[in-house]
Amino acid sequence: MTSDVILVLVIGTALAFDFTNGFHDTANVVATSISTGAARPQVAIAVASLLNFVGAFISISVAATVANDVVDSAVITPTIVFAGLIGAIAWNLVTWYFGLPSSSSHALIGGVVGSAVAAAGFHVILAEGLLGKVLIPAVVAPLLAFLVAGASIGLSYRIIGKQRPGIVSRGYKYGQVVSGGLLALAHGTNDAQKTMGVITLALIANGSLGAGADPPVWVIASSALAIALGTYSGGWRIIKTTGTRIIKMDAAQGFSSQGAGAAVILVSTHFGFPLSTTHVINGGVMGAGAAKRLSAVRWGVAGNIIVAWVLTLPAAAAIGALAYGFTSLFGDGAVGPVVVTVLSLGAIIAAFARRAVKGAPVPVQSEGGVRA
């Protein structure tokens, strides 16, 4: 009975994380289409939500990696997964509050690793999986998106030559409807699978599924729905950072950056790499800007984003470890997770209420980058 209560809390928390993931990442998916005028915000967000939902159904390779290749599922308990999720959600909300497009995915993996280490020690980490499937692709993928977007836009400008700008711009804006859609599909398939992986890990830890099991259909469907609803709710605050503060883009750059991002994410998903879609999309945006003119990229803002990227894994791990430590103060039963859930909900409501009183948050451009 106790373990079932904890499992229900874990699933609820995982779906809440999935919602915040979509909420947090809306900007990454739609910002380029909106900033180039290829789509109206409401339409872009609605389409992105729908394609996020669809995308969640097209692969389970990443879910398998998260469930089986990051931490040893034999020593994981639902409480550990719960604490990891709290770490990830807390970090997501902090970066949302300050308008930084950090990685929800790294927050999730960092949170789970941190709580697992706090509970059982460092031996619980599966070094092969964590390094080979998470950390190295985490470095390679944004660089790849940067280079592919840069090469794409360079080639596009050469092909287009001196054709009339009006027709060219309109053409790329139509193209962005497709490339933006592919990016949303890619986002849904990679990011929703991380939640599926975590819920599957909790089900395995609870004994409800055997080791190495694939996510059940209800897990896939509920994860798809949660990320789609989160995306629809939108993260308007971060749209400004991604869409206009890194570079001022034309439609061709928007198309190239979205195409590069979608290609990298979809191919990586096929091989089971749980990427940060945020890193990849921003890598593509910077590549498309830098290829045209290095000074077009606001490197101060880009630097701030990179700092957020670097901080995400250790910060989420630390919060996950603290959450596990606090939860275990109440023993092994369901009391700890219930108390943490109530406290977390209170903190979230307080943060939103504070924002509501202060008005819509807009990041301010300073010489060093973005500040709240």
């Binding site: 097209i58 692969s59 390779s61 070094a127 092969e128 390094l131 080979g132 499937k133 190295i136 692709p137 390679v140 993928a141 790849l144 998106a145 280079l147 592919v148 977007a149 090469a151 794409s152 836009i153 080639l155 596009s156 092909i159 287009i160 030559g161 054709q163 009339r164 027709i167 060219v168 053409g171 790329y172 193209g175 497709v178 592919l182 599909l185 398939t189 061709a252 198309f255 190239s256 195409g259 590069a260 979608a262 290609a263 990298v264 979809l266 191919v267 990586s268 998903t269 096929h270 091989f271 089971g272 790499f273």
Partner: protein
């Protein structure tokens, strides 16, 4: 003892780099050819050079179909694993 080659799933990573590069650059370049064709079609039509305009429209159409085919192929490959 885990060797670096074991830790880094080299083959998967290299394939990711190759496929993503080919798909990202390839689709964008072919789509740019489609836009070039459409722009040339408009100009040539206005200059009343109809045969050349038809060729430009053909180039645009084929390029557009190639882009759509590449996207459909990519999604099919994704769903098969």
């Amino acid at each position: 003892m885990i060797s670096p080659a074991t830790i880094v799933e080299t083959r998967d990573l290299v394939e990711t780099v190759v496929y993503a590069t080919v798909a990202g650059i390839g689709v964008t370049a072919i789509f740019s050819v489609a836009i070039w064709g459409a722009a040339r079609f408009t100009d040539l039509t206005q200059e009343d050079r109809r045969p050349a305009a038809a060729v430009a429209a053909g180039v645009a159409g084929v390029a557009l179909l190639a882009v759509l085919a590449a996207i459909v192929f990519g999604v099919i490959v994704m769903t098969r694993k």
